[in-house]
Symmetry: C2
Subunit: 203 residues, 2 copies
DNA sequence: TTTATTTTTGACTAGTTGGTTAAACTTATT
DNA sequence: AATAAGTTTAACCAACTAGTCAAAAATAAA
Protein backbone atom coordinates (compact mmCIF):
# COMPACT_ATOMS: atom_id res chain seq x y z
CA UNK A 1 0.00 0.00 0.00
CA UNK A 2 1.70 3.19 -1.10
CA UNK A 3 0.57 6.58 0.12
CA UNK A 4 -0.69 7.09 -3.40
CA UNK A 5 -3.66 4.74 -3.33
CA UNK A 6 -5.77 6.77 -0.93
CA UNK A 7 -5.14 9.70 -3.23
CA UNK A 8 -6.39 7.85 -6.31
CA UNK A 9 -9.30 6.33 -4.45
CA UNK A 10 -10.34 9.83 -3.45
CA UNK A 11 -9.88 11.12 -6.98
CA UNK A 12 -12.13 8.34 -8.23
CA UNK A 13 -14.68 9.00 -5.52
CA UNK A 14 -14.84 12.70 -6.27
CA UNK A 15 -15.15 12.14 -10.00
CA UNK A 16 -17.83 9.52 -9.43
CA UNK A 17 -19.72 11.90 -7.16
CA UNK A 18 -19.77 14.57 -9.85
CA UNK A 19 -20.86 12.21 -12.61
CA UNK A 20 -23.51 10.38 -10.57
CA UNK A 21 -24.95 13.65 -9.29
CA UNK A 22 -25.16 14.98 -12.81
CA UNK A 23 -26.33 11.92 -14.76
CA UNK A 24 -27.77 9.59 -12.15
CA UNK A 25 -26.91 5.90 -11.82
CA UNK A 26 -28.48 4.87 -15.12
CA UNK A 27 -27.01 7.73 -17.14
CA UNK A 28 -23.51 7.62 -15.67
CA UNK A 29 -20.68 5.98 -17.62
CA UNK A 30 -17.65 4.32 -16.04
CA UNK A 31 -15.49 5.69 -18.86
CA UNK A 32 -16.69 9.20 -18.08
CA UNK A 33 -15.81 8.78 -14.41
CA UNK A 34 -12.38 7.42 -15.31
CA UNK A 35 -11.74 10.37 -17.63
CA UNK A 36 -12.70 12.92 -14.98
CA UNK A 37 -10.47 11.18 -12.45
CA UNK A 38 -7.66 11.19 -15.01
CA UNK A 39 -7.09 7.45 -14.85
CA UNK A 40 -7.64 4.24 -16.75
CA UNK A 41 -11.07 2.64 -16.66
CA UNK A 42 -9.60 -0.64 -15.41
CA UNK A 43 -8.38 1.18 -12.34
CA UNK A 44 -11.97 1.97 -11.36
CA UNK A 45 -12.65 -1.75 -11.12
CA UNK A 46 -9.45 -2.24 -9.18
CA UNK A 47 -10.67 0.07 -6.39
CA UNK A 48 -14.43 -0.44 -6.66
CA UNK A 49 -15.21 -3.81 -8.17
CA UNK A 50 -18.39 -2.86 -10.00
CA UNK A 51 -20.43 0.19 -10.97
CA UNK A 52 -22.93 -0.82 -8.28
CA UNK A 53 -20.22 -0.89 -5.61
CA UNK A 54 -19.02 2.56 -6.64
CA UNK A 55 -22.52 3.95 -6.77
CA UNK A 56 -23.47 2.51 -3.41
CA UNK A 57 -20.41 4.10 -1.83
CA UNK A 58 -21.19 7.50 -3.32
CA UNK A 59 -24.90 7.31 -2.56
CA UNK A 60 -24.38 6.24 1.03
CA UNK A 61 -21.99 9.11 1.65
CA UNK A 62 -24.20 11.76 0.01
CA UNK A 63 -27.36 10.48 1.68
CA UNK A 64 -25.68 10.57 5.06
CA UNK A 65 -24.40 14.08 4.33
CA UNK A 66 -27.97 15.11 3.54
CA UNK A 67 -29.84 13.48 6.39
CA UNK A 68 -27.27 14.25 9.05
CA UNK A 69 -28.03 17.90 8.46
CA UNK A 70 -31.48 17.34 9.90
CA UNK A 71 -30.16 15.91 13.15
CA UNK A 72 -28.61 18.93 14.92
CA UNK A 73 -32.00 20.59 15.31
CA UNK A 74 -33.05 18.08 17.85
CA UNK A 75 -30.03 18.72 20.00
CA UNK A 76 -29.77 22.47 20.02
CA UNK A 77 -31.18 23.89 23.22
CA UNK A 78 -33.31 26.66 21.78
CA UNK A 79 -36.92 27.70 21.87
CA UNK A 80 -39.08 26.22 19.14
CA UNK A 81 -39.08 29.49 17.25
CA UNK A 82 -35.32 29.89 17.38
CA UNK A 83 -34.95 26.25 16.41
CA UNK A 84 -36.91 26.96 13.26
CA UNK A 85 -34.80 30.02 12.47
CA UNK A 86 -31.66 28.04 13.18
CA UNK A 87 -32.74 25.14 11.03
CA UNK A 88 -33.69 27.07 7.90
CA UNK A 89 -30.59 29.24 8.10
CA UNK A 90 -28.24 26.29 8.50
CA UNK A 91 -29.98 23.86 6.20
CA UNK A 92 -30.52 26.19 3.26
CA UNK A 93 -26.92 27.39 3.58
CA UNK A 94 -25.86 23.75 3.38
CA UNK A 95 -28.00 23.22 0.28
CA UNK A 96 -26.54 26.34 -1.34
CA UNK A 97 -23.20 24.56 -1.13
CA UNK A 98 -24.65 21.25 -2.36
CA UNK A 99 -27.42 22.31 -4.75
CA UNK A 100 -27.58 19.04 -6.69
CA UNK A 101 -27.94 16.83 -3.65
CA UNK A 102 -31.75 16.93 -3.29
CA UNK A 103 -32.44 16.15 -6.94
CA UNK A 104 -29.92 13.34 -6.97
CA UNK A 105 -31.20 11.63 -3.85
CA UNK A 106 -34.89 11.99 -4.72
CA UNK A 107 -34.26 10.66 -8.21
CA UNK A 108 -32.32 7.60 -7.11
CA UNK A 109 -34.79 6.79 -4.37
CA UNK A 110 -37.69 6.98 -6.81
CA UNK A 111 -35.88 4.67 -9.20
CA UNK A 112 -34.79 2.27 -6.47
CA UNK A 113 -36.80 2.58 -3.22
CA UNK A 114 -34.96 -0.46 -1.89
CA UNK A 115 -31.78 1.53 -1.53
CA UNK A 116 -33.11 3.93 1.11
CA UNK A 117 -34.84 1.22 3.06
CA UNK A 118 -31.51 -0.55 3.41
CA UNK A 119 -29.81 2.71 4.38
CA UNK A 120 -32.33 3.87 6.93
CA UNK A 121 -33.08 0.66 8.75
CA UNK A 122 -30.41 1.52 11.32
CA UNK A 123 -31.93 4.85 12.25
CA UNK A 124 -34.30 4.70 15.20
CA UNK A 125 -37.03 7.07 14.12
CA UNK A 126 -39.37 6.06 16.89
CA UNK A 127 -36.80 7.19 19.40
CA UNK A 128 -36.22 10.53 17.68
CA UNK A 129 -39.97 10.90 17.49
CA UNK A 130 -40.43 10.36 21.22
CA UNK A 131 -37.53 12.69 22.01
CA UNK A 132 -39.15 15.50 20.08
CA UNK A 133 -42.48 14.94 21.77
CA UNK A 134 -40.84 14.84 25.19
CA UNK A 135 -38.52 17.75 24.65
CA UNK A 136 -41.17 20.16 23.41
CA UNK A 137 -44.00 18.76 25.48
CA UNK A 138 -44.46 21.87 27.58
CA UNK A 139 -43.98 24.19 24.65
CA UNK A 140 -46.44 22.62 22.25
CA UNK A 141 -49.58 23.78 24.01
CA UNK A 142 -48.51 27.32 23.27
CA UNK A 143 -48.77 26.60 19.55
CA UNK A 144 -51.33 25.27 17.09
CA UNK A 145 -49.74 21.84 17.22
CA UNK A 146 -51.37 18.58 18.14
CA UNK A 147 -49.60 15.25 18.08
CA UNK A 148 -51.46 14.30 14.90
CA UNK A 149 -50.30 17.36 12.99
CA UNK A 150 -46.62 16.87 13.76
CA UNK A 151 -45.99 14.77 10.63
CA UNK A 152 -47.67 17.48 8.56
CA UNK A 153 -45.54 20.19 10.13
CA UNK A 154 -42.29 18.24 9.92
CA UNK A 155 -42.77 17.45 6.24
CA UNK A 156 -43.82 21.03 5.61
CA UNK A 157 -40.56 22.27 7.06
CA UNK A 158 -38.57 19.84 4.94
CA UNK A 159 -40.53 20.84 1.83
CA UNK A 160 -39.91 24.55 2.27
CA UNK A 161 -36.19 24.00 2.52
CA UNK A 162 -35.52 21.22 0.04
CA UNK A 163 -38.06 21.65 -2.76
CA UNK A 164 -36.65 24.88 -4.27
CA UNK A 165 -33.41 23.02 -4.95
CA UNK A 166 -35.10 19.91 -6.30
CA UNK A 167 -37.25 22.05 -8.61
CA UNK A 168 -34.56 24.61 -9.36
CA UNK A 169 -34.71 23.94 -13.10
CA UNK A 170 -38.38 24.91 -13.19
CA UNK A 171 -38.15 27.80 -10.78
CA UNK A 172 -35.33 29.41 -12.71
CA UNK A 173 -37.28 29.43 -15.96
CA UNK A 174 -40.32 31.00 -14.32
CA UNK A 175 -38.18 33.45 -12.33
CA UNK A 176 -36.30 34.55 -15.45
CA UNK A 177 -39.56 35.67 -17.01
CA UNK A 178 -40.58 37.86 -14.10
CA UNK A 179 -37.19 39.28 -13.22
CA UNK A 180 -36.45 37.30 -10.06
CA UNK A 181 -32.94 36.03 -9.31
CA UNK A 182 -32.77 32.47 -8.00
CA UNK A 183 -29.78 33.02 -5.71
CA UNK A 184 -31.36 36.09 -4.16
CA UNK A 185 -34.63 34.18 -3.76
CA UNK A 186 -32.79 31.42 -1.89
CA UNK A 187 -31.00 33.90 0.33
CA UNK A 188 -34.32 35.49 1.29
CA UNK A 189 -35.89 32.11 1.83
CA UNK A 190 -33.81 31.41 4.94
CA UNK A 191 -35.71 34.03 6.87
CA UNK A 192 -39.00 33.86 5.00
CA UNK A 193 -39.51 30.14 5.58
CA UNK A 194 -38.79 30.42 9.31
CA UNK A 195 -41.16 33.33 9.89
CA UNK A 196 -43.79 31.70 7.64
CA UNK A 197 -43.84 28.53 9.72
CA UNK A 198 -43.72 30.40 13.02
CA UNK A 199 -46.67 32.54 11.94
CA UNK A 200 -48.62 29.48 10.84
CA UNK A 201 -48.21 27.53 14.07
CA UNK A 202 -48.74 30.46 16.42
CA UNK A 203 -52.03 30.43 18.23
CA UNK B 1 -54.13 4.62 -42.71
CA UNK B 2 -56.25 1.89 -41.16
CA UNK B 3 -58.25 2.46 -38.02
CA UNK B 4 -55.68 0.25 -36.33
CA UNK B 5 -52.74 2.57 -36.35
CA UNK B 6 -54.12 5.08 -33.88
CA UNK B 7 -54.81 2.16 -31.61
CA UNK B 8 -51.24 0.89 -31.82
CA UNK B 9 -49.78 4.35 -31.51
CA UNK B 10 -51.76 4.81 -28.31
CA UNK B 11 -50.70 1.43 -27.00
CA UNK B 12 -47.09 2.41 -27.60
CA UNK B 13 -47.60 5.80 -26.01
CA UNK B 14 -49.16 4.34 -22.89
CA UNK B 15 -46.47 1.70 -22.52
CA UNK B 16 -43.77 4.33 -23.06
CA UNK B 17 -45.38 6.56 -20.43
CA UNK B 18 -45.28 3.76 -17.87
CA UNK B 19 -41.69 2.81 -18.60
CA UNK B 20 -40.33 6.36 -18.78
CA UNK B 21 -42.11 7.33 -15.56
CA UNK B 22 -40.66 4.32 -13.81
CA UNK B 23 -37.12 4.23 -15.18
CA UNK B 24 -36.49 7.70 -16.57
CA UNK B 25 -35.10 8.45 -20.03
CA UNK B 26 -31.65 6.99 -19.35
CA UNK B 27 -32.94 3.84 -17.65
CA UNK B 28 -35.77 3.06 -20.08
CA UNK B 29 -35.30 0.36 -22.73
CA UNK B 30 -37.03 0.32 -26.10
CA UNK B 31 -37.39 -3.45 -25.86
CA UNK B 32 -39.15 -3.07 -22.52
CA UNK B 33 -41.57 -0.55 -24.00
CA UNK B 34 -42.25 -2.81 -26.98
CA UNK B 35 -42.92 -5.75 -24.67
CA UNK B 36 -45.38 -3.79 -22.54
CA UNK B 37 -47.15 -2.59 -25.67
CA UNK B 38 -47.29 -6.19 -26.92
CA UNK B 39 -45.59 -5.42 -30.22
CA UNK B 40 -42.32 -5.78 -32.07
CA UNK B 41 -39.49 -3.41 -31.27
CA UNK B 42 -39.20 -2.36 -34.92
CA UNK B 43 -42.75 -1.08 -34.75
CA UNK B 44 -41.72 1.47 -32.14
CA UNK B 45 -39.36 3.00 -34.66
CA UNK B 46 -42.06 2.88 -37.30
CA UNK B 47 -44.31 5.18 -35.25
CA UNK B 48 -41.70 7.18 -33.32
CA UNK B 49 -38.47 7.27 -35.26
CA UNK B 50 -36.09 7.36 -32.29
CA UNK B 51 -36.09 6.95 -28.53
CA UNK B 52 -35.66 10.73 -28.27
CA UNK B 53 -38.76 11.35 -30.39
CA UNK B 54 -40.80 8.98 -28.25
CA UNK B 55 -39.50 10.46 -25.03
CA UNK B 56 -40.12 14.03 -26.15
CA UNK B 57 -43.72 13.16 -27.01
CA UNK B 58 -44.31 11.54 -23.62
CA UNK B 59 -42.52 14.25 -21.67
CA UNK B 60 -44.35 17.08 -23.41
CA UNK B 61 -47.71 15.49 -22.69
CA UNK B 62 -46.96 14.74 -19.04
CA UNK B 63 -45.42 18.16 -18.41
CA UNK B 64 -48.45 19.85 -19.90
CA UNK B 65 -50.73 17.64 -17.80
CA UNK B 66 -48.79 18.74 -14.71
CA UNK B 67 -48.50 22.45 -15.33
CA UNK B 68 -52.01 22.91 -16.70
CA UNK B 69 -53.26 21.90 -13.27
CA UNK B 70 -51.81 25.13 -11.89
CA UNK B 71 -53.70 27.33 -14.33
CA UNK B 72 -57.34 27.04 -13.17
CA UNK B 73 -56.56 28.82 -9.90
CA UNK B 74 -56.05 32.08 -11.69
CA UNK B 75 -59.45 31.90 -13.33
CA UNK B 76 -61.70 30.80 -10.53
CA UNK B 77 -63.59 33.72 -9.08
CA UNK B 78 -63.05 33.08 -5.41
CA UNK B 79 -61.59 34.88 -2.45
CA UNK B 80 -57.89 34.33 -1.89
CA UNK B 81 -58.60 31.99 1.00
CA UNK B 82 -61.07 29.90 -0.94
CA UNK B 83 -58.67 29.84 -3.88
CA UNK B 84 -56.06 28.29 -1.63
CA UNK B 85 -58.52 25.72 -0.32
CA UNK B 86 -59.66 25.01 -3.89
CA UNK B 87 -56.11 24.67 -5.18
CA UNK B 88 -54.79 22.25 -2.57
CA UNK B 89 -57.92 20.11 -2.75
CA UNK B 90 -57.85 19.86 -6.54
CA UNK B 91 -54.11 19.66 -7.05
CA UNK B 92 -53.36 17.06 -4.41
CA UNK B 93 -56.29 14.98 -5.66
CA UNK B 94 -54.75 15.17 -9.13
CA UNK B 95 -51.37 14.06 -7.76
CA UNK B 96 -53.01 11.17 -5.91
CA UNK B 97 -54.05 9.94 -9.36
CA UNK B 98 -50.63 10.65 -10.87
CA UNK B 99 -48.22 10.04 -8.01
CA UNK B 100 -45.16 9.44 -10.16
CA UNK B 101 -45.50 12.64 -12.20
CA UNK B 102 -43.56 15.00 -9.89
CA UNK B 103 -40.58 12.71 -9.50
CA UNK B 104 -40.44 12.00 -13.20
CA UNK B 105 -40.58 15.63 -14.30
CA UNK B 106 -38.15 16.92 -11.67
CA UNK B 107 -35.70 14.16 -12.51
CA UNK B 108 -35.74 14.73 -16.25
CA UNK B 109 -35.48 18.48 -15.86
CA UNK B 110 -32.47 18.13 -13.59
CA UNK B 111 -30.81 15.83 -16.10
CA UNK B 112 -31.69 18.01 -19.08
CA UNK B 113 -32.66 21.59 -18.16
CA UNK B 114 -32.78 22.43 -21.87
CA UNK B 115 -35.94 20.43 -22.25
CA UNK B 116 -38.11 22.61 -20.01
CA UNK B 117 -36.75 25.83 -21.46
CA UNK B 118 -37.86 24.69 -24.89
CA UNK B 119 -41.23 23.66 -23.50
CA UNK B 120 -41.98 26.77 -21.49
CA UNK B 121 -40.84 29.47 -23.87
CA UNK B 122 -44.38 29.77 -25.22
CA UNK B 123 -45.94 30.49 -21.85
CA UNK B 124 -46.26 34.17 -21.03
CA UNK B 125 -45.36 34.20 -17.37
CA UNK B 126 -45.09 37.96 -17.21
CA UNK B 127 -48.72 38.22 -18.26
CA UNK B 128 -49.90 35.65 -15.71
CA UNK B 129 -47.83 37.51 -13.14
CA UNK B 130 -49.48 40.84 -13.89
CA UNK B 131 -52.91 39.23 -13.92
CA UNK B 132 -52.42 37.87 -10.43
CA UNK B 133 -51.18 41.21 -9.14
CA UNK B 134 -54.12 43.04 -10.76
CA UNK B 135 -56.75 40.51 -9.76
CA UNK B 136 -55.82 40.41 -6.08
CA UNK B 137 -54.64 44.00 -5.83
CA UNK B 138 -57.41 45.09 -3.49
CA UNK B 139 -57.25 41.92 -1.45
CA UNK B 140 -53.51 41.80 -0.83
CA UNK B 141 -53.37 44.65 1.68
CA UNK B 142 -55.56 42.57 3.95
CA UNK B 143 -52.77 39.97 4.15
CA UNK B 144 -49.10 39.82 5.02
CA UNK B 145 -48.17 39.93 1.35
CA UNK B 146 -45.94 42.41 -0.38
CA UNK B 147 -45.08 42.24 -4.06
CA UNK B 148 -41.59 41.04 -3.18
CA UNK B 149 -42.82 38.09 -1.13
CA UNK B 150 -45.12 36.74 -3.85
CA UNK B 151 -42.44 34.48 -5.38
CA UNK B 152 -41.76 33.10 -1.89
CA UNK B 153 -45.44 32.44 -1.30
CA UNK B 154 -46.10 30.95 -4.74
CA UNK B 155 -43.18 28.53 -4.47
CA UNK B 156 -44.20 27.70 -0.92
CA UNK B 157 -47.64 26.70 -2.14
CA UNK B 158 -46.18 24.54 -4.89
CA UNK B 159 -43.75 22.93 -2.43
CA UNK B 160 -46.44 21.97 0.07
CA UNK B 161 -48.44 20.21 -2.64
CA UNK B 162 -45.77 18.60 -4.81
CA UNK B 163 -42.90 17.71 -2.50
CA UNK B 164 -44.60 14.91 -0.56
CA UNK B 165 -45.05 13.03 -3.84
CA UNK B 166 -41.52 13.74 -5.06
CA UNK B 167 -40.12 12.57 -1.73
CA UNK B 168 -42.63 9.79 -1.17
CA UNK B 169 -39.93 7.13 -1.02
CA UNK B 170 -38.32 8.85 1.95
CA UNK B 171 -41.50 9.86 3.71
CA UNK B 172 -42.88 6.33 3.60
CA UNK B 173 -39.83 4.88 5.30
CA UNK B 174 -39.94 7.46 8.08
CA UNK B 175 -43.72 7.18 8.42
CA UNK B 176 -43.56 3.39 8.67
CA UNK B 177 -41.38 3.71 11.75
CA UNK B 178 -43.76 5.99 13.61
CA UNK B 179 -47.03 4.41 12.53
CA UNK B 180 -48.24 7.00 10.03
CA UNK B 181 -50.00 5.96 6.81
CA UNK B 182 -48.87 7.83 3.71
CA UNK B 183 -52.26 7.81 1.99
CA UNK B 184 -53.99 9.11 5.09
CA UNK B 185 -51.28 11.75 5.47
CA UNK B 186 -51.91 12.92 1.90
CA UNK B 187 -55.65 13.01 2.41
CA UNK B 188 -55.20 15.20 5.48
CA UNK B 189 -52.71 17.40 3.67
CA UNK B 190 -55.39 18.86 1.38
CA UNK B 191 -56.92 20.76 4.26
CA UNK B 192 -53.81 21.18 6.40
CA UNK B 193 -51.77 22.89 3.67
CA UNK B 194 -54.55 25.33 2.85
CA UNK B 195 -55.15 26.36 6.46
CA UNK B 196 -51.42 26.48 7.12
CA UNK B 197 -50.83 28.98 4.33
CA UNK B 198 -53.91 31.03 5.20
CA UNK B 199 -52.78 31.25 8.81
CA UNK B 200 -49.29 32.28 7.75
CA UNK B 201 -50.34 35.09 5.43
CA UNK B 202 -53.09 36.48 7.67
CA UNK B 203 -52.24 39.77 9.35
C1' DT C 1 20.76 -4.62 -5.82
C1' DT C 2 17.39 -8.06 -6.09
C1' DT C 3 12.99 -9.76 -5.13
C1' DA C 4 8.23 -9.40 -3.90
C1' DT C 5 4.07 -6.60 -3.85
C1' DT C 6 1.07 -3.22 -5.26
C1' DT C 7 -0.62 0.01 -8.70
C1' DT C 8 -1.61 1.30 -13.43
C1' DT C 9 -2.32 0.48 -18.16
C1' DG C 10 -3.75 -1.06 -23.13
C1' DA C 11 -6.07 -4.40 -25.40
C1' DC C 12 -9.78 -7.34 -25.32
C1' DT C 13 -14.52 -9.62 -24.57
C1' DA C 14 -19.27 -10.82 -23.92
C1' DG C 15 -23.52 -8.83 -23.58
C1' DT C 16 -26.65 -5.00 -24.37
C1' DT C 17 -28.90 -1.36 -26.90
C1' DG C 18 -30.90 1.76 -30.39
C1' DG C 19 -31.81 1.45 -34.84
C1' DT C 20 -32.22 -0.80 -39.86
C1' DT C 21 -33.92 -3.74 -43.59
C1' DA C 22 -36.20 -6.77 -46.49
C1' DA C 23 -39.85 -9.58 -46.55
C1' DA C 24 -44.58 -11.02 -44.96
C1' DC C 25 -49.01 -9.71 -43.81
C1' DT C 26 -53.15 -6.79 -43.76
C1' DT C 27 -56.12 -3.38 -45.49
C1' DA C 28 -57.78 -0.13 -48.94
C1' DT C 29 -58.33 1.05 -54.04
C1' DT C 30 -59.12 0.02 -58.93
C1' DA D 1 -59.41 -10.22 -58.61
C1' DA D 2 -55.38 -7.53 -59.04
C1' DT D 3 -52.73 -3.82 -57.51
C1' DA D 4 -51.14 -0.47 -54.39
C1' DA D 5 -50.35 1.31 -49.83
C1' DG D 6 -49.85 0.88 -45.13
C1' DT D 7 -48.67 -2.17 -41.09
C1' DT D 8 -46.05 -5.74 -38.63
C1' DT D 9 -42.40 -8.93 -38.07
C1' DA D 10 -37.86 -11.66 -37.66
C1' DA D 11 -33.28 -11.26 -38.36
C1' DC D 12 -29.55 -8.43 -38.36
C1' DC D 13 -25.90 -4.69 -37.39
C1' DA D 14 -22.86 -1.21 -35.57
C1' DA D 15 -21.88 1.23 -31.52
C1' DC D 16 -21.54 1.18 -26.79
C1' DT D 17 -20.70 -0.56 -22.06
C1' DA D 18 -19.33 -2.95 -17.84
C1' DG D 19 -16.02 -5.77 -16.72
C1' DT D 20 -11.51 -8.83 -17.49
C1' DC D 21 -6.61 -9.96 -18.08
C1' DA D 22 -1.92 -10.18 -18.71
C1' DA D 23 1.81 -7.38 -18.79
C1' DA D 24 4.27 -3.10 -17.56
C1' DA D 25 5.48 0.38 -14.21
C1' DA D 26 6.13 1.89 -9.63
C1' DT D 27 6.87 1.07 -4.88
C1' DA D 28 8.21 -1.61 -0.76
C1' DA D 29 10.88 -5.35 1.39
C1' DA D 30 14.96 -8.40 1.56
Amino acid sequence: MSGNDKQTEDKIFEAATLVFEEKGMAGARMQNIADRAGINKALLHYYFRTKDHLFDAVFAKLAQKMFMKFAPIFKEDLSLEDKLRFFFREHITFLQQNPKLPGFILNEINHNPQRIKKLMRNIDFRNIWLTILQHHKDELYKYNITEETIPQIMTTIASLSVFPFAARGIFEVVFNNIGVDFDKYIEERKEFAAEFVIKAITK
